[in-house]
């Protein structure tokens, strides 16, 4: 499992709809905002890259010092962004694919308004379990 890993789902209009610190390292107060900054800044790169490939998994798109941003863009242009310091690309890809499935299930929920914050605790537990499994 990676030391640092911050997972964010960004909906349309660049609004984060789900956030989770899934790293094993002890949480630091200022880390949360740094992670957000890095991921937020990577949105620019994603914007460019997303249209150059038909693959959903964009691999690592950006880096800041030793932190790497990997992105997975769904067909609806929801961006699953992972900030990590590990090099396990296959694991990240599997992680993204499974989270994508979970996300689709959330979308299928008629009570979920697309683009709103994902508050499901079930989703949260599942994502964290996936992070433990793959990252």
């Amino acid at each position: 499992m990676a030391n640092t890993a911050c997972f964010i789902i960004v909906g349309r209009n660049d609004i984060p709809i789900y956030e989770a610190e899934v790293g094993s390292a002890a949480k630091r107060e200022d880390a949360a905002q740094l992670h957000q900054f890095i991921l937020h800044a990577a949105l620019d790169v994603v914007q460019d890259l997303a249209w150059t490939t038909s693959a959903m998994f964009l691999k690592s798109v950006d880096r800041f010092n030793d932190l790497v941003v990997s992105v997975y863009v769904t067909a609806g242009h929801t961006r699953l962004m992972l900030l990590h310091d590990s090099r396990n690309e296959d694991g990240i890809k599997s992680f993204f694919q499974e989270v994508h499935e979970l996300y689709i299930k959330i979308l299928l929920n008629p009570l979920y308004l697309p683009g709103s914050r994902i508050a499901s605790s079930h989703f949260d537990t599942k994502v964290r379990a996936l992070a433990r499994k793959y990252l």
């Binding site: 107060e29 957000q36 890095i38 620019d44």
Partner: protein, 1304 residues
């Protein structure tokens, strides 16, 4: 795309990679020029850039080309050395600090808009001092030993004509050890001699003499004369001061004050001549020379092989610092000279030549330097982009490999590289280069990151996210080296990007830090403004929230004043909870009554409110006729009466916060008629009542009275923040008699509280509730305006107003003070037992001087509450007043209680703090939770025409617990006519309490009641325990007389209708059920318990009176009831026939049977109905079994449970029917007796009268005979049958046992 030469890098290179002229001058020369506030070099500097020098140059090739742009760099000899790193660093810091101070005044301005940033031209995006900083940064690296372009090309020796021995000075200057101690220095450098003549204090004779001496000594061409300071007064003003841009510290207009225009022209000419006549030709020559030399040694196959071989020998000791004589240095000089002369081809070929050498030698610094120059040469000659980039990359990484020593060079290389990329519009790449040259030095990193961020703006498409991020990074670095101004500047730009972001941590970080920094530079108000944005940080950890709040309040404290903040996020106001409660013609006695649905009140008040001429019109439409059209829409309230606003506050944080001085912001303006009066002084006072959501706690109720001045400005101006501050200043400190109440309440983490705020206008006009203000922790004032939010105006709900805008809902037309009735009911219990009878007092009070009249009251549940008849208090104590012997005048109830509206006597009029106490009787009729609504209508005398009447609405809630339940069964007495047996079943339904029963009464005068057996024997304890049941038996007797007598007027002694259940109760008087209130309650019970249409004429109503047993220690009801009455109505007699009859005759007969035994009997039939009845008596000599019991016992006895109290008590009387359908059980032998009289008789019986019919039987043997084998067919006459349930029927005979014995 810009031509490389004209790009900013091109210009930079033209400036930076240009021939250096070493200046050596005597102190007197300096002195001369310092008169202008400038040193010698500074004086000459503006004239060293030639944009069109137009000199023909021929270097290695035979091709001649013309130089257009050319620059000379002048340096004092003492400056020509590598600058000290520390000094350089300080200088850079100084540059930044200066720039920061310059920026200071802009700090308060609002962050720019994104569109502004994007629309700015490229040059304006980055601050202007960046270029200067870059230049300074590059300068720190000048005169490095591995490069040649900083080495002086020529030497300018300057001596003043005032010097003692000019010629000697010239020689001394060059020979003195002030020369830079550089190995690369060529002693045969080009020298030029300049004699300075100061026109102010030197003589021309001496000058010309010295000049001629010089010329003879150094040669004619190498000597020049410069005459300066021609202006004697020294106050020449220069239109466009050429020095201004170079020296900014001193006021620009003093510079060059002694230099006339002629002087300047002379300087210009001198420099131009120096460049074109001496330097360029010299360099040309040098290039040619070197080229030849190198061609001889290095170029050509032979030399290269030789070199390769020769090099091998000294592989192990690469000598990086080769002297000027070394071939590599020469080549480098050649390259640099060629570069400076803009012969990039030659430069490139020379660089290429040595770059491999250096690489082989592993002289990395030299190698990198050469690569760097190659890249630049590629760029400026607009050759292969790829090559250029490759070279720069190569140079950069090589420098980086050198570690710390190479970092500065790497920085310069990076800067050039980035510039190169920028010139080619590769801003994104440029940004990454800037990011790479950040290094460890925070200040340096900050500037580079800022550079990078601006590159992202210039990228197409724009990368704003990156822009913001790098600005924030840069700001953090600036902060680390105490450049707070710069930090603020970068964050301020970053806010543009993050302003509307939903990335919460980012937003908090940016606003929190910029707030802190503003506080550091002392701009507390701006700091507070920024910090406000992070207050709503419920998602942050508690520690972070604490830090945010602590810092915020620290800063607020430092500002030393109370800030007023519009839209403060702490606490959050739930606008959907906003409720306005006010009273117009509808007034409320309590909070609870105001919250009741308007429709309930309206339906209640339908009868008592005078209807208006326009049919279904309401009160508002009446208003429209009376009021100006303008105010038609607004709500009406009365001066002196408060308008209440309920508002919910929520704390988003985990930390509890204290909130004080919550009050409304209101505006009261005069009516439009009075507007010309100008300013209006008005008095209003503000109550602040806090109450909690679940339990209403009046925390601290302080009403404040204050005088407040409100300008008659339109409300819109109030809404912008600045004027609101003004407004508030007025309210807080405006007038001497104004004081604000301070109510503190603390909101715990995540807590919500509902707050009630009131405003009471005391003058006529238009009252607007503009918003709410509160103080947070005593240091900051939050203001919230109710402008653009939907408001539920509670009382406006029922109206048919379609266009009620939110603002209208908060706008009130204040009318003149009116009397307002206040009402309350004393000691109304909240919880009581069913049947509980209470005496209550309704107190009505009018505080105003003007009287009110015509009071009417309507009660939603007349079954529960019945108003008394007299204003006066009762003479006897309750409940004794209900007992007999305390009779009061029987007032005709019917007149008062029309339509269930109770009208107070006409003479009741209230005014001036007078109050009336009106008795009310309360009886809890049925169990359950009951909402009692009282509405009291009253009219005002001679007050305003707008409002003629008002209503007072009161609402109480009762919880009624089940107590005793009774049911009655009445069966006709078999033995006696007009007598009935009553069986009363009582069950105690209460949970724990015990009851005592006292009295049972029948209602009306028809029925007399008596005990069949004393209750004392079955219930010696006299109390019914919880859940206990009891059955008692009574006899009732129909006392109606036959004939035309009206039973209503017949008065039965009241003692016969009541029976005491316990004889031991001694002397206690019976309760009087004829008088109000019991009688009136019984009336309503009657109407509630059964539909009046189906009342059978024989129904009996009972009232059971009980009380709570005294012994029960803790009652479920807080105040113990004294008397309970249980009403049971319409208990019909268990018989459907209108007849009652009995067979009379002997019970036992002795007969010898010698003769026919004939027995005479008498059938007495009474017509209990009110109609004429015809009865046919048939005797049946059939086979009735004597022994068979004719009654089905199961259905006639036992407890009949009453499931719901409201259920009407109808007895189904199909017992007879079932008996009829029963077939004769035995068919044996002959009948034991025969009816010997007439077998069928028809008689007419008048209503309520009795007939006797003689019957006879013949018996043949002794035995016991059941003489029930007859039947009565009855038929009612027409007019009665319409109202009765059945018009005809058949009755079987009643068992009558006759014993016939054999006589002796």
């Amino acid at each position: 795309m810009v031509e490389p030469v004209n790009s900013s890098l091109g210009k930079m290179l033209l400036e930076e990679v240009s021939p250096v002229v070493m200046v050596l001058c005597t102190p007197l020369v300096e002195e001369t020029f310092l008169k202008n506030g400038l040193s010698f070099v500074e004086t000459l500097k503006p004239f060293c850039n030639f944009s069109n020098i137009d000199v023909p140059v021929r270097t290695s090739s035979d091709q001649l080309y013309r130089l257009k742009k050319f620059t000379l760099r002048l340096f004092y000899a003492s400056d020509i050395r590598q600058p000290n790193v520390e000094v350089a660093k300080q200088r850079l810091e100084h540059v930044i600090t200066q720039a920061g101070e310059k920026d200071f005044q802009n700090l308060t301005s609002d962050p720019p808009q994104i569109t502004d940033i994007l629309s700015n031209p490229e040059s304006e995006i980055a601050p202007s001092w960046f270029q200067y900083y870059n230049k300074e940064l590059i300068r720190t690296l000048s005169f490095s030993d591995h490069e040649a372009f900083d080495h002086p090309v020529a030497c300018l020796l300057v001596v003043s004509s005032k010097d003692e021995e000019p010629i000697k000075n010239f020689i001394d200057l060059f020979n003195s050890n002030r020369l830079p101690n550089d190995g690369a220095m060529d002693p045969n450098i080009l020298k030029h001699y300049l004699l300075v003549h100061d026109n102010q204090d030197a003589t021309t004779e001496r000058t010309s003499k010295v000049l001629s001496e010089m010329r003879s000594q150094f040669g004619n061409n190498e000597c020049n004369l410069l005459c300066t300071n021609s202006s004697k007064e020294g106050n020449v003003e220069h239109q466009a001061n050429p020095w201004a841009s170079f020296k900014s510290s001193v006021s620009a207009d003093k510079l060059g004050c002694a230099l006339t225009g002629d002087d300047i022209v002379e300087i210009k000419d001198l420099i131009q001549e120096f460049a074109s006549r001496h330097i360029i030709p010299y360099m040309e020559q040098k290039v040619r020379e070197l080229n030849q030399q190198i061609s001889a040694t290095r170029k050509g196959l032979r030399n290269q092989i030789k070199n390769l071989w020769w090099r091998k020998g000294k592989d192990d000791g690469p000598d990086a610092t080769k002297g000027s004589i070394s071939t590599e240095s020469q080549i480098r000089i050649l390259g640099d000279y060629a570069f400076m002369l803009h012969d990039y081809e030659l430069a490139l070929s020379s660089y290429r030549l040595i770059s491999t050498d250096y690489k082989l030698d592993k002289a990395w610094k030299h190698y990198a330097g050469v690569q760097e120059m190659m890249g630049l040469a590629y760029f400026i000659s607009d050759q292969s982009k790829k090559e250029a980039e490759y070279c720069m990359e190569n140079a950069f990484s090589t420098y980086m490999k050198l570690g710390k020593s190479g970092f500065q060079n790497a920085t310069r290389c990076g800067l050039w590289w980035a510039e190169m990329l920028k010139a080619r519009k590769q801003h994104k790449e440029a940004a990454s280069v800037y990011f790479r040259i950040c290094g460890e030095e925070p200040l340096h990193a900050a500037v580079m990151l800022e550079h990078a961020s601006y590159c992202y703006v210039l990228t197409r498409p724009v990368m704003l996210h990156k822009y913001g991020f790098h600005l924030v990074l840069s700001g953090d670095h600036y902060k680390n080296c105490d450049q707070v101004n710069h930090a603020i500047r970068t964050y301020k730009s970053a806010i543009t990007v993050y302003k509307s972001t939903t990335w919460s941590h980012i937003k908090d970080h940016v606003y929190f830090h910029i707030g802190q920094w503003y506080a550091i530079v002392g701009m507390h108000d701006v700091a507070v403004r920024n910090m406000l944005k992070v207050l709503d940080c419920g998602y942050q950890s508690k520690a972070t929230q604490e830090i945010f709040l602590r810092d915020f309040f620290d800063i607020v404290k430092k500002t030393g004043m109370k800030h007023e903040v519009v839209g403060l996020q702490l606490p959050i106001i739930n606008m959907s909870s906003l409720q306005v409660i006010y009273e117009d013609h509808r007034t409320y006695a309590s909070q609870a009554s105001a919250l009741v649905e308007e429709s309930i009140w309206q339906s209640l008040e339908d009868d008592i409110i005078p209807s208006l001429n326009s049919g279904k019109s309401n009160w508002l439409e009446l208003q429209s006729k009376l009021l100006p059209k303008k105010y038609k829409e607004s709500n009406v309230c009365v001066a002196g009466e408060s308008v209440k606003v309920d508002l919910e506050f929520r704390n988003p944080l985990l930390i509890s916060t204290s909130i004080t001085s919550v009050s409304l912001i209101c505006e009261l303006t005069a009516n439009s008629d009075d507007l010309q009066l100008g300013k209006l002084y008005l008095l209003f006072h503000v109550h602040v009542i806090i109450f909690y959501i679940h339990q209403v706690v009046y925390a601290k109720l302080i009403s404040t009275f204050g005088l407040c001045k409100v300008d008659k400005e339109p409300s819109s101006s109030i809404l912008d923040p600045k004027s609101s501050t003004e407004h508030n200043r007025v309210t807080t400190s405006g007038f001497s008699s104004f004081a604000l109440s301070e109510v503190d309440f603390t909101l715990g983490g995540g807590e919500k509280k509902l707050v009630r705020l009131t405003v009471t206008p005391s003058e006529e006009g238009i009252l607007k509730i503009v918003g709410v203000r509160w103080e947070l922790s005593g240091s900051i004032v939050g203001v919230h305006y109710f402008q653009s939010v939907p408001v539920k105006a509670k009382t406006a709900k029922g109206r048919k107003k379609n266009k009620l805008t939110p603002t209208d809902a908060l706008k009130f037309l204040v009318i003149k003070s009116l009397p307002r009735l206040e009402g309350s009911i004393d000691h109304l219990p909240g919880k009581l037992y069913a049947g509980d009878l209470r005496y209550l007092v309704l107190e009505l009070k009018n505080k105003s001087e003007s009287p009110i009249k015509n009071l009417k009251m309507k009660i939603s549940h007349p079954r529960f509450v019945s108003p008394g008849n007299h204003e006066e208090d009762l003479t006897t104590e309750f409940p004794d007043c209900l007992r007999k012997g305390n009779e009061q005048d029987i007032v005709q109830r019917e007149t008062i209680r029309t339509n269930s509206v109770f009208a107070f006597p006409k003479d009741v009029s209230l005014q001036g703090d007078k109050s009336i106490r009106w008795p009310l009787w309360l009886r809890a009729a049925i169990p359950g939770t009951i909402s009692l609504y009282f509405t009291i209508y009253y009219e005002m005398e001679n007050v305003s025409s707008i409002m003629k009447y008002r209503t007072l609405r009161m609402h109480y809630k009762l919880q009624v617990l089940p107590s005793l339940e009774t049911s009655y069964e009445i069966t006709p007495s078999p033995s006696r006519l007009q007598e009935y047996l009553v069986r009363m079943d009582i069950v105690n339904c209460a949970k724990s309490d015990c009851f005592q029963i006292h009295q049972l009464s029948t209602v009306g005068c028809r029925w007399g009641i008596s005990l069949l057996q004393p209750v004392d024997t079955i219930l010696p304890s006299k109390t019914l325990l919880a859940g206990q049941t009891l059955s008692c038996f009574f006899i009732i007797k129909d006392c109606r007389k036959s004939g035309t007598e009206d039973y209503k007027s017949m008065s039965l002694p009241s003692s016969q209708t009541d029976v005491k259940l316990f004889t031991q109760d001694g002397d206690e008087k019976l309760f009087d059920i004829v008088n109000s209130p019991l009688a009136s309650f019984h009336d309503s019970e009657r109407s509630c318990q059964g539909p009046s249409a189906q009342v059978s004429p024989n129904a009996v109503d009972f009232i059971l009176i009980s009380s709570l047993a005294k012994s029960s220690n803790s009652s479920a009801v807080p105040d113990v009831p004294e008397i309970l009455s249980h009403h049971s109505c319409h208990n019909s007699i268990r018989s459907s026939s209108p007849l009652s009859w009995s067979l009379e005759g002997p019970k036992t007969i002795h007969h010898d049977f010698s003769t026919l035994c004939e027995i005479n009997l008498k059938l007495i039939i009474r017509n209990t109905s009110e109609g004429l009845s015809s009865v046919i008596i048939n005797t049946i000599d059939c086979l009735l079994d004597t022994a068979s019991p004719t009654t089905s016992s199961g259905s006639q006895s036992g407890w009949r449970y009453v499931p719901a109290v409201t259920e009407e008590m109808k007895l189904t009387s199909d017992v007879m029917g079932s008996r009829l359908s029963k077939p004769p059980s035995s068919m044996e032998s002959s009948p034991p007796f025969i009816w010997s009289g007439l077998s069928s008789t028809k008689v007419q019986i008048k209503p309520l009268s009795t007939t006797e019919i003689p019957l006879q039987i013949s018996v043949f043997s002794p035995g016991i005979y059941d003489l029930s084998s007859y039947k009565l067919d009855w038929e009612l006459s027409e007019h009665v049958s319409a109202s009765s349930t059945t018009s005809s029927g058949t009755c079987q005979g009643i068992p009558y046992y006759l014993t016939v014995l054999q006589s002796e």
